[in-house]
Symmetry: C2
Subunit: 210 residues, 2 copies
């Protein structure tokens, strides 16, 4: 398998964790987002959004969108499960993941921040925009799991929720968000970071890290 | 069941279509987003994001995030299925849905557009921002299904992809996007609009429509 990604892309980071948890290896094909390599025509032919990640398996299967890739991995390589069997718990975990993957990350991604700069907004305003998007999302996530026992987001082991949380917290730190308001999220992050699958997926451990 | 929503919310519209396709009825509880009713403390207690939709079933189950709600409906009320059984097809359909639900709609939602106005951007710039987000997402969607036979996005019947597409096209029209560039998407929309489940879910048919 090939994983087209970028060391700092939090969506790629989610998939790297999933591959590691499943014990699957993939060749990492970096696309330098700040240099615009994701808009190369050869890459657009496999991912028309020009976003990372894209997963290509050895049989020619091409998959895009991190949550869709992760659920595919979970359905085709069920152990260890990233979603439980109970439909209600699955829905809660997916909702938490979507707060991050739908309402948080896309509002602070490189493309949106670049467009704000094109509108004449300066660095301080752009960084505060990204921090705002992170605060909004993380506040909701903190409330969603306030009464979950943990130590992971939903229970004693990692799920799709943790795969989204840990990379998003890395983004939040880059944008200077004060994370002290999110003790429950930090507790889940600490539990996740004990696992090699999470540690090995970290941006600074990737071959294209700068 | 109660569906907390808003007639013009495209995320609520997705869930309305799903309920109709499954033959389920729900009491519609409108929250007037432009008046800020979604930030009422009683509502925030069940949906800490202050977004719609939220689905409450009669047993006290509270579900948020439209895609998570729709997959829960599909898992608990399997007929007719909104996702096929084959993992690869499921992944492709989920990816299409996520292009819309992650990368398109949240970038043009009311909250983001309000923040652009707070930064001093005028109506024309704000509308063009929303149109841009729609063009980016719809162009990718058009490419993703260019070689799918149809008439729906993926095959002969509606799936999660169509539940996301039809409401997003309504948004695109509101922001003045020229849809002539997306003939394959329009073909799926035409097929979907023949179905009562889609027609009955349209914004203008809702009790809170203005």
């Amino acid at each position: 398998m090939k994983l087209h990604g970028y060391f700092r892309s939090s969506a790629s980071y989610r998939v790297r964790i999933a591959l590691n948890l499943k014990g699957l290896s993939a060749d990492h094909w970096p696309h330098h987002l700040r240099k615009g390599e994701q808009r190369d025509p050869a890459y657009l032919a496999i991912n028309p959004q020009g976003l990372v990640p894209t997963l290509q398996d050895d049989g020619g299967v091409i998959l895009t969108q991190s949550l869709a890739i992760i659920e595919w991995l979970d359905e085709t390589h069920p152990e260890p499960p990233l979603l439980p069997g109970d439909p209600l718990q699955r829905a809660k975990i997916r909702a938490f993941a979507q707060v991050i993957a739908c309402d948080t990350h896309p509002v602070q991604n490189l493309k949106v921040l670049a467009r704000l700069r094109e509108l004449g907004q300066g660095d301080a305003v752009v960084t505060e925009w990204a921090a705002w998007a992170n605060r909004e999302g993380l506040s909701a996530c903190e409330a969603l799991i306030a009464h979950e026992s943990g130590p992971f987001c939903y229970g004693a082991g990692p799920t799709l929720a943790d795969l989204c949380l840990v990379p998003q917290l890395a983004n939040a730190r880059r944008f200077g968000v004060d994370l002290a308001a999110y003790p429950r999220l930090l507790r889940s992050e600490a539990a996740a970071k004990e696992l090699k699958a999470f540690a090995d997926a970290a941006p600074e451990r990737q071959p294209d890290a700068e």
